[in-house]
Symmetry: C2
Subunit: 337 residues, 2 copies
DNA sequence: TCGATCAAGTCAATCGTATGACTAACCATC
DNA sequence: GATGGTTAGTCATACGATTGACTTGATCGA
């Protein structure tokens, strides 16, 4: 079928260098200390380089049991936020000499099965799962020691976000400005993380003695049309003077709906987003939003997953990220009626 | 070191099913026709499923020479456009039972070396490279028959975009509206594709007998601040009544700069983007832009790469995508001075 | 009833690397 | 000059699936 030009193996290198295959292997895997002299090592290296030799990753895996590939499952790659997560995770993985297979869970209904298959088939060493559905986690139980959840719900969540404090800061900010009618636009996905956000929001309102009505709550998916229409019912209510969104993209829908309803931001309506993607500063006025330390999260996730894979027993400590409220121009005192 | 709970191999399945290991392999790889009876096959399948057996991908690869993983290299994963490309490519790959390793070339200066290493180490079967720098392609020459370029420059570009017609449509649209001072905001990356865009733009202006001055050209990277300041020098010139951008994200910079300079879009200034990411309709007014058939491109790329890997000799026909001008609200007749 | 044919399986070599067990050479020590 | 220790390397097996060559038992035609 396919006859590659020249399969360069440790054997060909050995022959070319006049040593045994074992020696080549020893040198290439860096385990030459005490077994190969420096001069031989250098010589083998030189020959290997000249020939363009790369150890066959699968053959190595077959022997060692570990292929240096990780999976990263995120809800939606198209969202810049997850692009950022990927970039940071990939960088951390790369430094540990791992490659990353990205999986878009919204785009692939079978993603849980695929990850399980890949783990069982030893194609990936393990997987990071960002913001799983509540139903997904039990299904991943059978490979639990090879999975790390970010913002998950169970004990496998070694990397989490302090949503509560973040949401509190948002509500305090708005209440401090004098808002009392604060609406909420939820992301319409069955993710644990979104549920938590809204729960803490309500809790904080209660703590502050602020009212909240069911009609002040709406939800939408991230498509622009959907978020716009999801926002409409909130924007139409004059008693709502501020809206908190599960995501910056939803805030964009609020902006559109507000425009159509002739409510100016921030004079007639304050808006707060979530994630602080670059896009938040593209909106006009620039969006007040909760920033997540994306890079740190992704790094921690990779490191902790690799630790866990190394030694499933050692209970790794978990990391909880703090959110930062970025106050920009989309929030202001409510206009007095 | 790591002692997994139970390494389920074709051997364990064979033992449990009371057949030979070969038979299990035959059944699992679907090559059972004429060699295994239906009843045996079903039985083996059942046992395999009960045990949760997955063939070890690396062992298979070692024998067959092919690991079903592809790489996809794109300039910037954070850009939604490339997220879309990935999602579509991943889907096409998945249907052929391939996984996709994503590589962000801006984030990894060594990406060419990494791809070469992965190919030589047989970790990936091949790679799709979107919008490479002119310098990158020669370096990839040594694995040319395992690489497929999208919007590249050399003969490995089996998937391309008809930039010329697209840009022509843009210029015709603006000229038709009565614009004669048309500025251009380039993406500040040494990609072949961006160079082409600007070249065709100038060519079309000449064809139509329209003037173009060097001062009407500016460039910027995609960060919002950068694109804003890149746009400023164009926006400040009153003789410019329309601006064409290399990317929708750059258009966002133009919007911001225009706001600061008090030029209303589209009344004082028309703006055209490129790519038609969802975000184009979030901008206010909605952005007129050139749409790329993202999904089709990604599909074609995957299919053609797999074909090429299957048989490097067979010269596959190439596919050239057509752009569609989406006329929205950011373009209008210029205000008469 | 004998060989030929065929279906249904099994055998065993192989892919390329890693690594524990082994060896050979050299040196120092008593 | 035998013993022990160190250094530098080689040998040979194992990892798990694939696959061409082979075996076995049954069926069939003449």
């Amino acid at each position: 079928m396919k006859t590659g030009p020249s399969p360069i193996t440790s054997n060909s290198v050995a022959k070319a260098a006049g040593v045994s295959q074992s020696t080549v292997s020893l040198v290439m895997s860096g385990k030459s200390a005490g077994r190969v002299s420096d001069s031989t090592r250098d010589h083998v290296m030189a020959v290997a380089n000249k020939l363009g030799y790369r150890p066959n990753a699968t053959a190595r895996m077959l022997r060692t049991g570990v292929l240096n590939i990780l999976a990263l499952a995120v809800p939606n790659v198209k969202q810049p936020f997850f692009g950022e997560i990927f970039v940071a995770a990939e960088k951390a993985a790369r430094q540990a000499d791992y490659a990353v297979v990205l999986i878009d869970t919204q785009n692939d209904p079978q993603w849980v099965e695929r990850i399980i298959d890949m783990v069982r088939g030893r194609m990936i060493a393990g997987s990071i799962v960002y913001a799983s559905d509540s139903e997904d986690e039990p299904r991943l139980a059978e490979i639990a020691d090879r999975v790390l959840f970010i913002e998950g719900q169970d004990s496998g969540t070694l990397v989490d976000i302090d949503i509560e404090s973040g949401i509190e800061a948002v509500v305090e900010h708005l209440a401090g400005l004098g808002h009392s009618g604060i609406g909420y636009l939820s992301a319409d996905y069955p993710k644990v993380t979104f549920k938590r956000r809204f729960d803490y929001f309500q809790k904080k309102l209660r703590d502050l003695g602020l009212d909240f009505k069911n009609e002040w709550h709406s939800s939408a998916t991230f498509e622009i049309e959907a978020s716009t229409s999801g926002a409409e019912k909130l924007v139409r209510r004059p008693e709502i003077t501020a809206i908190v969104c599960d995501d910056d993209l939803l805030a964009a829908g609020v902006y559109r709906a507000a425009r159509q309803a002739d409510r100016a931001i921030p004079d007639d309506l304050s808006v707060v987003g979530f994630n602080d993607i670059e896009f938040a500063r593209v909106l006009s006025p620039e969006l007040t939003t909760l920033a997540i330390p994306t890079e740190r999260i992704a790094q921690e996730a990779v490191h902790k997953l690799l630790e866990k894979l190394e030694d499933p027993a050692r209970a790794s400590s978990s990391y909880e990220a703090e959110l930062t409220l970025k106050i920009r121009s989309s929030t202001a005192r409510p206009a007095k009626a």
